[in-house]
Amino acid sequence: MNSHDVAVLGYLVILLAGIVLQLLATKTRAPIPSLGKVFSWAMGTRARRIGVLVAWAWVGLHFFAH
């Protein structure tokens, strides 16, 4: 396994962790909020809302903007 594989594996593990958290939140009674609830909470104040929206806009800019 070379460093490229390790890097990709790292991304996949993090993605898997997110999926597991979402499943725990929606399928069990674990004290974990779903991603939707986390976003609802994050949109509750101006600073957090702007942070979330800027993060979303940044993704588009990063991959497409000059």
């Binding site: 070379n2 460093s3 490229h4 890097a7 990709v8 790292g10 991304y11 993090i14 962790a17 997110g18 958290l21 939140a25 674990a30 004290p31 974990i32 909020p33 991603l35 939707g36 609830k37 986390v38 976003f39 609802s40 909470w41 994050a42 949109m43 509750g44 104040t45 101006r46 600073a47 957090r48 809302r49 702007i50 942070g51 979330v52 929206l53 800027v54 979303w56 806009a57 940044w58 993704v59 588009g60 800019l61 990063h62 991959f63 497409f64 903007a65 000059h66």
Partner: protein, 251 residues
């Protein structure tokens, strides 16, 4: 035709009182420092810095503008005596649509309930279809342009800026404040998010230079380059980006 002397005096008095209040208020430095105590501001400024030095000055500049504006806005709120509290109620503005309208838009309101006005329900469905069609057209059109070209840059920057500006004014929906979330669960989501950011940053810093991609230490951008090299790939990515934006704004 003009107002009475009494009302004119009142207007001048209001202006004078406002000027006096501004002069008596905290200085620029205090306001800026108060704004920097907001973690989101610090994160935005860090992103602006790293984006700038990694060869994306436009992204960096936009992040910087938002970060500084938010610092100033937060600082003013925190240093203003008796300022409004933060939260959905404080941020609510007249442009918020009512809960009933929101329910209608989602197809669960009176308009779509049995016995509700069928015309309103049809209108709601039409609006959703129109948004979906507009999104698909946007993804296909913008995706047809090559990445980093100006025809691709302008619509992406315009949409991103419009959504951020709209979010600044207040939540798009008048939802009740969500119940307090369990700290442990919130922390776990934070750990996953932080891990993703740190892993990406680690790959970025292990590249030959910040502007030269590396096969051995790929960033997410490097990994997605082959997909985003095609029209279909770009359009699918843009559609997913729009969907994520819709999901977030709908919260």
């Amino acid at each position: 035709m003009g107002g009475s002397p009494r009302s004119g005096d009142t207007g001048i008095g209001d202006v004078a009182a406002t000027v006096a209040a501004v002069r008596a208020g905290p200085g620029y430095a205090v306001t800026a420092l108060a704004g920097l105590r907001e973690p989101i501001v610090v994160i935005l400024l860090l992103i602006a810095f790293f984006t700038w030095i990694s060869g994306k000055p436009l992204d960096g500049l936009l992040m910087l503008v938002v970060g500084v504006s938010l610092a100033w806005d937060t600082g003013r709120r925190r240093t203003r005596p008796g300022g409004p509290p933060e939260g959905r109620q404080a941020d609510s503005r007249p442009q918020d649509i009512s809960a009933a309208s929101r329910d209608d838009a989602r197809g669960v309101g009176p308009a779509t309930r049995p016995g509700g006005p069928p015309a309103a329900a049809r209108w709601s469905r039409l609006m959703v279809l129109a948004w979906l069609a507009a999104g698909a057209l946007y993804a296909l059109l913008v995706g047809s342009f090559s990445r980093y070209s100006w025809p691709a840059t302008v619509p992406v920057v315009a949409l991103g800026a419009a959504v951020v500006v709209a979010g600044w004014r207040g939540p798009s929906l008048s939802r009740p404040a969500p119940a307090k979330l369990p700290a442990i669960g919130l922390a776990l989501w934070g750990v996953v998010l932080a891990a993703g950011c740190l892993w990406e940053l680690s790959s970025l810093l292990q590249q030959p230079s910040l502007t030269t991609s590396s096969y051995a230490h790929p960033t997410i951008s490097t990994l997605t380059d082959p997909v985003l090299g095609t029209w279909v790939g770009r359009s699918i990515f843009l559609a997913a980006w729009l969907g994520l934006g819709w999901f977030v704004v709908d919260r």
